[in-house]
Amino acid sequence: MRDETGSKGEVRMRNKIAVRMGEGVVARAPHIISSLGLGSCVTVALYDTKRRIGGLAHIMLPDSNSPNGRYTTYQCADTAITALLEQMQSKGAILKDIVAKMVGGARMFSSYDGLNPGIGEQNIISIKHILNRQGIPLIAEDIGGHHGRNIEFHLDSGKLVIKAVGKEVTEI
């Protein structure tokens, strides 16, 4: 497998890799993986703290087992996390050293409040469940709320830098 492979279409600028909605990528330090315009979508960042190998997926939906089926790998939480783990392990990552962070899952419009629970919350619940089942500790999160987020995943440090409109930049 080639280095820094992911679903097709990700854009690269020097050591920056942009992951769009429904895409995922695995890379090593010192790359920076970015994901823009998260609303109800959730990005999961997996990181092997010893080998500094990281994987990030911009997940849209909680579960690939739906009657409307036929999703691509990184659109749904279950298939996306499995794919990230496989790719990271094929690059030498070791499961016991992998930790997880997640960002997103907002509810952007109050009119969605009638639909219970929203897709963002469903994504969060599903991802927590999958990480738990895989035995991967979720060490940090910035989830929910009513605002969009841009993130950068720095593979040299494992830090996630989060930007939101009208808010201070935060780091988890």
Partner: protein
């Protein structure tokens, strides 16, 4: 991308353009009455496109936009968004001041409710135009407003409504008020099941008018 754009033939697109031109004309009339000054509208641009491209046509995906969301129910189900890019904000505030005299600051609650109402009117005129031409009864739900990045605002809808097909109808409108040109977008995201209903109705309407 090409096969998605061919979802509608050139003739069907022309028909859709005619519908939205009439809708835009009616919107200008409604705003003229609401704002008590002449509001003109240019011929709207129509884009039929797959989901990932919508945010980049509207503008920088990481800049905030003002967005009014409505659900679409009836013969065609889905979601509607009225979108004003951030760089239009100052012109818009000027426009809103006409409807809410005395307000000077950026967005007050009253401004926001006026802008929500603008979204409401836009949805109304386009759905009426579709009804008049295609005999489809489409209604919109109560509008709600949010200001954030376009991609974030649309992602729930793109994830749940359009799934695989992801056919978006994006109408670009330019309104002219007091020499200010205000660029706005109206986005229809029909559910997967509704796309066929919409296309079939366009064909029937064209045949009824002897264009088919």
């Amino acid at each position: 991308m090409n096969n998605k754009e061919k979802l509608l033939s050139e003739e069907q697109l022309d028909f859709l353009r005619e519908m939205i031109s009439i809708g835009a004309g009616n919107a200008a009339t409604a705003f003229t009455q609401m704002l008590q000054c002449e509001v003109k509208v240019t011929i709207p641009a129509l884009h039929i496109l797959p989901a990932p491209q919508a945010p980049s046509i509207i503008g920088d995906p990481s800049l905030p936009v003002l967005c009014v969301r409505m659900g679409m129910v009836g013969d065609v189900a889905g979601e509607l968004f009225f979108i004003i890019p951030d760089e239009q904000k100052t012109k818009l505030t000027h426009l809103v001041e006409r409807a809410t005299p005395g307000t000077k600051k950026k967005y007050t609650d009253v401004d926001l409710s006026v802008l929500t109402e603008v979204g409401n009117i836009i949805a109304g005129v386009y759905l009426t135009a579709i009804h008049d031409f295609c005999k489809l009864n489409i209604y919109h739900t109560v509008p709600t407003l949010a200001i954030d990045m376009i991609q974030s605002l649309l992602d729930e809808s793109l994830a749940t409504q359009s799934r695989q097909v992801q056919t978006l109808i994006l109408i670009e409108n330019e309104f002219i008020v007091d020499e200010h040109l205000i660029r706005t977008f109206f986005l229809m995201i029909p559910s997967m099941e509704s796309v066929k209903t919409l296309v079939d109705s366009i064909d029937q309407a064209r045949m009824a008018l002897g264009e088919g």
